[in-house]
Symmetry: C2
């Protein structure tokens, strides 16, 4: 029953399921695309940065020559294979995916989709993927003999089997794509706990008008943040806007503007003790799995609010359940879980969190706003573009964080 | 059954009840006082402003002479009556109230409490009050023959019977005292609706992992704000931090930094049409009662989120109930109500809001954080001090907004 024994597959299956609605949504609602501000801003920045580097890059000049050789009619839209360097986007070919790939890559690369892999993938240099299991498989990865760069669409890459990926292949996460929405969700959960919305709403519906149950303020309180990647930094900004004092832990311990304190993982006990609210915004790696266990929980304030919007397994499941059971003023706000249901399965953890009043539960939906898929794809393909043109992609992960 | 027929007493009784816990809390928990940042900051600003005005004021010099005449031993703490100008604080004498009054007024005024009114109130110039009914009464107000200034402890003054208050008496609200906490509560409600926390939590507890139910983003969406007093302006600031576009309506129509649009009440239809989220932060006056009725609701987006943290009667009760019933994607987040229960009564509105899934309900608790009462008292007594020393108090209300 201990969380560490739960198979890794749980997360992968969950992720698989968690990604499916993106596609469902793509089909039924295209109307919100203009809301994808984040990626569009990044897009704007790219244009600026390319301009600053002095117009066309050597590769663009080569691409332009190639286009001239091939005739102008073929230069627009997605060109399936046979054109300069190849990018395989491991998704089904759909209008919105093709459109974004066309905008961001077609002038410098040939783009393939899952439907195209029978045409030959030996010269594919870049693989863009959502999930691995059930999509990539050993057969395919073995055939990608020219692979240099894997770009994930997700901010977390703990679902990739690093042991199957050749060591010379760079892997990039998609950190930053949906950071803003994940931070919004973290604050939604934190504020719902602080203002006891669930308790008051339930009592009021029964006719109980209980003004003796007070709220916790955000202003003046201490917000602990574990991890200062793009999500953690956005949470820091919002915390400052609410007048909170921010105490953070990050691997480097490097100071961050706006934080009262930033420490290394050695300072975790200090931050746990001080935090009125604690948000976990870490990647799930060999080093962070089970980071928050019985001892860590015991250091926290009696009435603290713990928010997890990254990956469930960073917290020890049994330890958290027991802590919630014996500390009724402590609240856990969980968007991420240990076990994810397959399609048609019920949601079920190893411990009955659903019976506890001091938990607020959401089904890994922090980034799921209309347009989020397009956002995510744009953000990822921007990085692929940077890899292809400048060989300096962002968000490269350290494989030693995932395999010994 | 229409809301306009509900007696005014409802609110007053409600307010009466809503204030009671403050006193209850004073007795049981003094430990959070250090969190009362707001009032303390204002305090700091006062000292600075007094310094800038060139040290002691003429009244302070007179006060000092009077103290010298009376002997130094009597100059500290609360001096009950007989000392220069008189302030009646219509609260029971309790340690925390006496302490704050001592800090802020004892050097320039004599302070009376409810227990002291038999000693003579004919020369009381300032009345500080929480509730009116059951406390002030006709007998008392008739005896306050020197009254010049009434300072409310609440941000809203709609519970005062202006027809009983002589026209030459200035009335000040306590706008600003708890604006930060009320804005936090508004965002708690707004985010809970945007992220569908209640729906997801309920489904997940039943085992339903529903990632096809998307969230609404805050970033890039339009936040409508009715009223740009201290609460509205704080909501504007937070909205900007979340990346929202702010469209506001205020009486003056005066532009406000950070808002994309500020209009007069004539622009209400435009703001209603554009808003993804609409927060009401208006005082309840003759002009705002029933402001949001059937027509106004019909202009709003199908899936808009309406948040009321000011006074219930600004919305027409029946119109809102019917709108929620026939627009299931519309959400109302209500902290304020039309009817408030007396002690021992059940909470009950004229329409069964408690049966609707698209309402989030809290019992008028937006400002109720530990220390809020001391905050509020400090903020009010700062303004009394300004009245006494400089005759230029803030937050003077226009009595024409309350009586014809």
């Amino acid at each position: 029953m201990s969380s560490s024994k739960t198979s890794r597959r749980g997360i992968e299956r969950g992720l698989y399921k968690s990604l499916a609605p993106a596609f469902a949504w793509q089909e039924k609602d295209q109307g919100y695309q203009e809301k994808g501000r984040c990626a569009q801003d990044v897009h704007g920045e790219r244009k600026e940065s390319e301009r600053r580097r002095g117009g066309r890059t050597p590769i663009e000049i080569r691409a332009a020559s190639a286009r001239e050789g091939r005739g102008k009619g073929e230069t627009k839209g997605v060109i399936p294979g046979g054109f300069l360097r190849k990018v395989l986007i491991a998704l089904k070919k759909k209008e919105n995916v093709e459109k974004i790939a066309g905008e961001l890559l077609s002038d410098i690369a040939g783009v393939l989709f899952l439907e195209d892999i029978e045409d030959g993938v030996e010269d594919v240099e870049v693989l863009v993927l959502f999930q691995w299991r059930g999509v990539i498989g050993e057969g395919l990865i073995g055939r990608l003999r020219s692979l240099k760069f894997i770009q994930a669409l997700t901010a977390g890459v703990n679902h990739l089997p690093f042991e199957e990926i050749p060591e010379n292949v760079l892997v990039a996460s998609n950190s930053g794509a949906n950071a803003g929405y994940i931070a919004e969700h973290a604050f939604a959960l934190m504020l719902a706990a602080a203002k006891r919305l669930f308790l008051h709403d339930r009592l009021l519906r029964k006719g109980e008008f209980r003004q003796d149950i007070f709220s916790k303020p955000l202003r003046g309180s201490v917000l602990g943040i574990l991890g200062l990647g793009s999500i953690g930094r956005r949470i820091l900004e919002l915390g400052r806007s609410f007048g909170m004092k921010v105490y953070a832990v990050r691997k480097s311990g490097k100071p961050e503007a706006g934080a009262e304190f930033v420490g290394t993982p050695d300072d975790l006990p200090y931050v746990l003790r001080e935090a009125d609210y604690l948000v976990i915004a870490l990647p799930l790696t060999r080093h962070t799995e089970g980071l928050i266990g019985e001892r860590e929980l015991s250091l926290m304030k009696r009435d603290a609010v713990l928010v997890n919007v990254s990956r469930g397994k960073i917290i020890d499941q049994e330890a958290l359940y027991r802590h919630l059971l014996s500390n009724r003023e402590f609240t856990a706000c969980l968007d991420v879980w240990w076990n994810y249901p397959r399609a048609e399965e019920s949601f079920r953890q190893d411990f009955p969190f659903e019976k506890l009043p001091n938990v607020i539960m959401t089904p890994h939906i922090a980034p799921l706003v209309p347009g989020y898929f397009e956002n995510m794809l744009r953000h990822a393909l921007e990085n692929v573009r940077t890899f292809l043109l400048w060989d300096s992609p962002a968000n490269i992960v350290d494989r030693k964080d995932y395999v010994p």
